[in-house]
Amino acid sequence: MSDVSTDVALDIYRRVLNIRRFEEEVGRLFTEGELPGVVHLYIGEEAVAAGVCAALRRDDYVTSTHRGHGHVMAKGGDPKRMMAEIFGKETGYCRGKGGSQHIADFSIGMLGACGIVGGGIPIATGAGLSIKLRKTDQVSVCFFGDGAANEGSFHESLNLASTMGLPVVFVCEHNQYGEFTPARDTMNIEDIAVRADAYGMPGHCVDGCDALEVYAVASQAVGRARDGEGPTLIEAKTHRRGGHAEGEEAFLAGQKYRLPEEERLAAKRDPLLILHERILLEGLADAHALESIDQDSSQQMVEAVTFARESPWPDPETVLEDTWA
């Protein structure tokens, strides 16, 4: 039994659903050829962003990755402006300059998705430093993948945050893969959380498919950070439901890089189903309430697509705007 209130449970459920429904639209639009560039979907990992962000305030910071839509959504971003950005439209978060891998919303502390694996880790650390220097009680959260945990930026940043005692929560989304390579081929350890010991900070493994579990562990780490007790590393074990990037079948040419049992397991561990089930089981809300959240969310995403589709392209002249401050 979890000890969350109905409000919190429904709040988390809404975040999970918003991500799911948003990403489903993006996937569909990509397949139909309506999007430029490339997109990496967060489906299957929703519990991580939702569980963590539910433990945050609006003025807390997050940094994100190439797989960033879920983090923006969970932090309270506007699906319209995110969708417009992915379309490359003027009304997008970054006026069409960023795109899927570079979405930011500074008004909600979302400091940016990032096309460079591990690139957001030092930045989140710097936001933590800023909090400490400005003496506020904000918290900085850094999302990154299992693959990113092999980058030098991971090592340097966690060590820096630990020695400086910064209010940062490092959240490793361990989805078992970096692109097409399984984590077992790129690290000789089972749990990335053990790396916390190398920096003298607490490390926790959590079931990243169970949003309420994630919320519990994240709340604790966020609380620690807010109380000035320093950083924590959380490893959330999760699964990417789709490919690394949409459209990868084109060059995989029928070749499978995941074992069928892995895919079956991932399907069973769907964070939306798990949360749905837990909420009902623990009597936190009834099916009707959940259904109405879904309708709401789906409706919002349809509107987001319409908004994005009908938005104007940026004026080519704006290519020279947003340069020197």
């Binding site: 560039g37 490359g88 092999n150 970096g178 692109e179 790129t186 890089y257 020279l320």
Partner: protein, 326 residues
């Protein structure tokens, strides 16, 4: 001759050298799957010891390439996107390029670093930056930027056989383009330009993906009766200065077109060299066409505007034709 894609050409080059020399190995993130295709499935033929997947650790991977190259291996390292080289910058500039010289000639460093390069697929700044000028600025690193499948194969084989560090950049938009590529291995000397179109009125110096765009511009100018000579450098360092200067002595006019940021970019290097060494022959100011000096935007409309367009090339050519030296 069989028509093949640039990706096929790259795979053929790698396969030929893996067969020819057992010291050659291919290393990188996901080289087995081969995100861009150049290394795809080579491990099926050559095994996991010759085609090696790595963790996402650019600095260590590039540095391991340096250490291996200094001790008898000829590593070909695929780092995927040009900007990922920034994570390995220290090992490239401080070690790969410097090691032989710094140690008084004690070692050779037969190391190839490969990535795609440039914009054109709405990938956003982190996956679209041109990086070659920064590496051209480093001493003792060769830089290659082919423009055709034929050249990809011949230049990559040369790069692998070269005893120096070579940065092998493939324009990201070149991958699926087809061209004639012989089945057998062949080499194209590093440092030798190709004249893609002859003309007596103005010299265009370019490389990589811009070659095609310059040829388009040259065709448009021809319709106005102006004949452009289009030189595709193919190797950016060392570059075929002699070929360019020869052409400028003939035409008296020079336009440098390069997909890189303008300040200290490749076009500046070419233009400065021509102005320094062919000055008496110049009948008009040298002209440069480069990227705008902004990060690469994502939206196709903006991305298109950020890199040299055919229109901007044409404008430069017209400026060059109008002006007579004072």
């Amino acid at each position: 001759m069989p028509r093949k894609t640039s990706v096929d050409a790259m795979r053929e080059a790698l396969r030929a050298e893996l067969l020819r020399d057992e010291r050659v190995v291919v290393i990188g993130e996901d080289v087995k799957v081969g995100v861009f295709g150049g290394t795809r499935w080579l491990h099926r033929e050559f095994g996991d010891e010759r085609v090696i997947n790595t963790p996402i650790s650019e600095l260590a991977v590039a540095g391991a390439g340096v250490g291996a190259a200094a001790t008898g291996i000829r590593p070909v390292i695929d780092l995927m996107f040009g900007t990922f080289l920034f994570l390995a910058f220290d090992q490239i500039a401080n070690q790969a390029g410097a090691m032989r010289y710094m140690f008084g000639g004690q070692t050779k460093l037969p190391l190839v670093l490969m990535t795609v390069s440039g914009a054109g697929i709405s990938a956003g700044h982190h996956h679209s930056q041109p990086v070659h000028p920064m590496f051209m600025n480093m001493p003792l690193i060769k830089v290659v930027l082919p423009s055709t499948p034929y050249d990809v194969k011949g230049l990559l084989i040369s790069a692998i056989r070269d005893d120096n560090p070579v940065l092998f950049l493939s324009p990201i938009t070149l991958g699926s383009q087809r061209g004639e590529v012989p089945d057998d291995p062949y080499t194209i000397p590093l440092g030798e330009a190709a004249i893609r179109r002859e003309g007596g009125d103005v010299t265009i110096c370019t490389a990589g993906a811009m070659t095609r765009r310059c040829l388009e511009a040259a065709r448009a100018m021809a319709r106005e009766g102006i004949e452009c000579e289009v030189i595709d450098l193919r190797t950016l360092k060392p570059w075929d200065e002699a070929c360019v200067l020869r052409s400028v002595r003939k035409t008296g006019r020079f336009v440098a077109v390069d997909e890189s940021f303008p300040v200290c970019g490749a076009a500046s290097e070419w233009a400065a060299t021509v102005a320094e060494k062919a000055f008496p022959h110049l009948r008009a100011p040298v002209q440069r066409v480069s990227n705008l000096d902004v990060p690469l935007p994502y939206s196709p409309v903006l991305e298109k505007a950020a890199v040299p367009t055919t229109e901007r090339i044409l404008e430069a050519l017209r400026r060059c034709m109008q002006t007579e030296a004072a």
